[in-house]
Symmetry: C5
Subunit: 162 residues, 5 copies
Amino acid sequence: MDRIGVVDTMFARYDMGSEAVDELSSCPGFGTRFETVRRTVPGFKDLGVAAKKLIQEEGCKAVVALGMPGRAPIDKACAHEASQGIMLAQLMTNTHVLEVFVHEDESDDPEILAAVCRDRSRKHARNAYWLLYEPDQLVRRAGQGVRQGFTDAGPVLTADRA
Amino acid sequence: MDRIGVVDTMFARYDMGSEAVDELSSCPGFGTRFETVRRTVPGFKDLGVAAKKLIQEEGCKAVVALGMPGRAPIDKACAHEASQGIMLAQLMTNTHVLEVFVHEDESDDPEILAAVCRDRSRKHARNAYWLLYEPDQLVRRAGQGVRQGFTDAGPVLTADRA
Amino acid sequence: MDRIGVVDTMFARYDMGSEAVDELSSCPGFGTRFETVRRTVPGFKDLGVAAKKLIQEEGCKAVVALGMPGRAPIDKACAHEASQGIMLAQLMTNTHVLEVFVHEDESDDPEILAAVCRDRSRKHARNAYWLLYEPDQLVRRAGQGVRQGFTDAGPVLTADRA
Amino acid sequence: MDRIGVVDTMFARYDMGSEAVDELSSCPGFGTRFETVRRTVPGFKDLGVAAKKLIQEEGCKAVVALGMPGRAPIDKACAHEASQGIMLAQLMTNTHVLEVFVHEDESDDPEILAAVCRDRSRKHARNAYWLLYEPDQLVRRAGQGVRQGFTDAGPVLTADRA
Amino acid sequence: MDRIGVVDTMFARYDMGSEAVDELSSCPGFGTRFETVRRTVPGFKDLGVAAKKLIQEEGCKAVVALGMPGRAPIDKACAHEASQGIMLAQLMTNTHVLEVFVHEDESDDPEILAAVCRDRSRKHARNAYWLLYEPDQLVRRAGQGVRQGFTDAGPVLTADRA
């Protein structure tokens, strides 16, 4: 059976990992074609190596990596480093690792922030499934301004596509 | 038959991938000397590994990677990370991956933005073709201030070249 | 016997390495299941390669890397480079290296700064132990806003988790 | 016969590559001990992989990589990425790739800008030659504030060296 | 006999390499246990690959890499890239490369700047020696706020260590 990895952090202020795991469990083939493997690390700088271990030691064919950068300037620099680690993990393994970051300053309203966490975690979990099993779902939406967390931006020109 | 890869994103607000595929299909040797392979990924941070997979798993000899960074400061940081991934994909494979990014803030006019998307996507698709099959086209234009998306800047000195 | 590495710097203004070593010596299995190996390097840019050597030459299964970036802008840039080195050390070895940085400008009060050094060094030493021997401790705290150095931030929504 | 690579861009507004090739052709041993190989790529982000290909596929023992970053902030970010690619190309091949960047905002006067392009391209071409065949020329100038493009800065202390 | 590498630049405005070589020649075991190998490169972006070559082609067990970033903003970006190259050289070889950068804006007084160059070059040369042959010298100074170039900062708390 294939495996899809999910790794999140203790640092985040919303349990994004459980959302991703739950979404994947509702995708076609869950339990027959693929299963999920979950890990939690201290902070988002630990996500890169954790994702790489899920791929190379646990045999995951894709990974969803979730984190929540804080509001301070130093958090932005750290998020950049964390992203570089996730990027490297992908390039060293030829495997997609979907980065799901919700920045704490995306909203001052905890309800909205929680909703962003839920939506973005679930949509990227679905993207991981699509990348592995239904890539045409992605091609069909090419250039359509698709977003995760908030509503889609849509295409620049309304009548853009034939 | 050789293969040239094209990978774009759902995040972009213009279907840049189709422009690149269409341009390549008008280049000499299309269908006989080379064919195209298209992929779409969620966002531009997924382009690096997708390009590397096109090269190493699908046998592409060059890749055109297209994306559209948004207007927010965080989008600039992400674009930087996406670029680093594309850079690494090239260096790890000794294969050119032409980065085609149209920044959403290059114009406030959707018509102009769409025109930039079209022109830049097509010109870099043509550059990919040149790199593989007509490298002299590039040498001939060395230092000529050639641009994609907007008009050429031209050389610094008009009577520069002998 | 397993080994956990601890590497700190002469540049730091608090002996963070000793705190980490001491904390690890109070974890279950110390002296029977695992032992510690300590190194000190000049500055935090030397931590990355030192951590990698601890893993590949001394057989450490995890490393705690501790440093104290100064207050000047140049120190921030250097901290970024140091972090990238620690990130690379992890990805090149599939081994967790917990970065424990206390920025000198986190407090103007030396007593508070020392307390942050103690708390963060010890908590991340404990995290290293958890990653190796009790990973469920981490999963249990996923998304709970856990912090090191200062008090936990807690989850965004109080009644977030079922 | 040894080979020294020269790679420049269509984006640049001065034909820097021809200057470098011409300078190398005036160095001792040209045509007997070494020859030059020239390539042109679309923009400076393509220099890294092009240099690496010159080294690994064309057998070049050193490469001169020339580009001209534009005036906009985005150009600075791109120049940074281009530099990282050139850096990686060197480290992955144990071969010097001399980065010759002339920033378009170094002068508003086209004549001066062209002069900077000429001087910097030629001096770094000469440096490539020195690195391979006359390394003592470099040691002799250690710490002397040697510049390319503009006049030398000289040492901090006039009577510095014994 | 072991070898310790020293590499500096023509760009620097003080002969830092000679200071490092001289300091190493005064360390115990010079000429019997270890010797020095010196190289000079054009600028600090050439230090990374030069250090890696000293390690992998000349057999150096540690390297001291010295440079002097200028005052302009572009110099800061370049220093960052140079540092990343030195970082990579270390991680790809499991060998310490001590980065010794003196920023030209550390002082407006040439005498002070020269003194910083001397002190920092010599202290890091000594650190390279310690890393190889007397690592306990470093552990003994862990967290003591040791500096190179200027006076030590000392520990945060005077009575910090037992």
